[in-house]
Symmetry: C2
Subunit: 125 residues, 2 copies
Amino acid sequence: MKVIKNQSLPDKLACEGSLKNVIDALYVLNGKWKLALILSLVQSSKRFNELQHEVVGISSKVLAKELKDLELNDFIKRQVYPTTPVSIIYEATNYSETLKDVLAGLSAWGKQHREKVKESMRKQY
Amino acid sequence: MKVIKNQSLPDKLACEGSLKNVIDALYVLNGKWKLALILSLVQSSKRFNELQHEVVGISSKVLAKELKDLELNDFIKRQVYPTTPVSIIYEATNYSETLKDVLAGLSAWGKQHREKVKESMRKQY
């Protein structure tokens, strides 16, 4: 049952390779938090506690794991500054900036999705 | 430690609301498979087995759960056709099409990311 039902799709999405690309992208960006953490650090470098405060809903255990993953994959750097006590600051790398288009698309979509959810709740009650 | 370090960011990404938008988007699109499944069904409607074959790496248990989630959130429809035996076909809804920009961005990024990984493996060996 392989019927291309939407002829208005951009060619790049309709082609076979695009599904493989998206699977590969999600493999490294998996989970509910990585893109949000990358955006927060692209906006400005932050300490662990600042990140936890800004990315609402993440536990400290999960945050620590996600930061390690992101560092391993070259999206962020953990900088240790020799102040007293030492300051540990997380910074986005240049590679994180390659995700700007994805983040902008996701932000625009998240905004309209929130409006849609609000609208449907208004109708329900 | 709040320093805006990248002045070239588009305004819409730099603003406070964008992080909230991204967190909201990831809340509903969480996990490693949902966007890939949506893309596969936007390309064409499919049976369960066809989906599992195309989205390489997903188990049937996880696929069943993800399809239920996607149906609840209005991204896909499960159509039952009264053939013998009955045909169950999963179809993308119009709402899935609102994710086209996100999917196109993710596809482009996934492609360049794969190139980058290949390149760094070539250097290593």
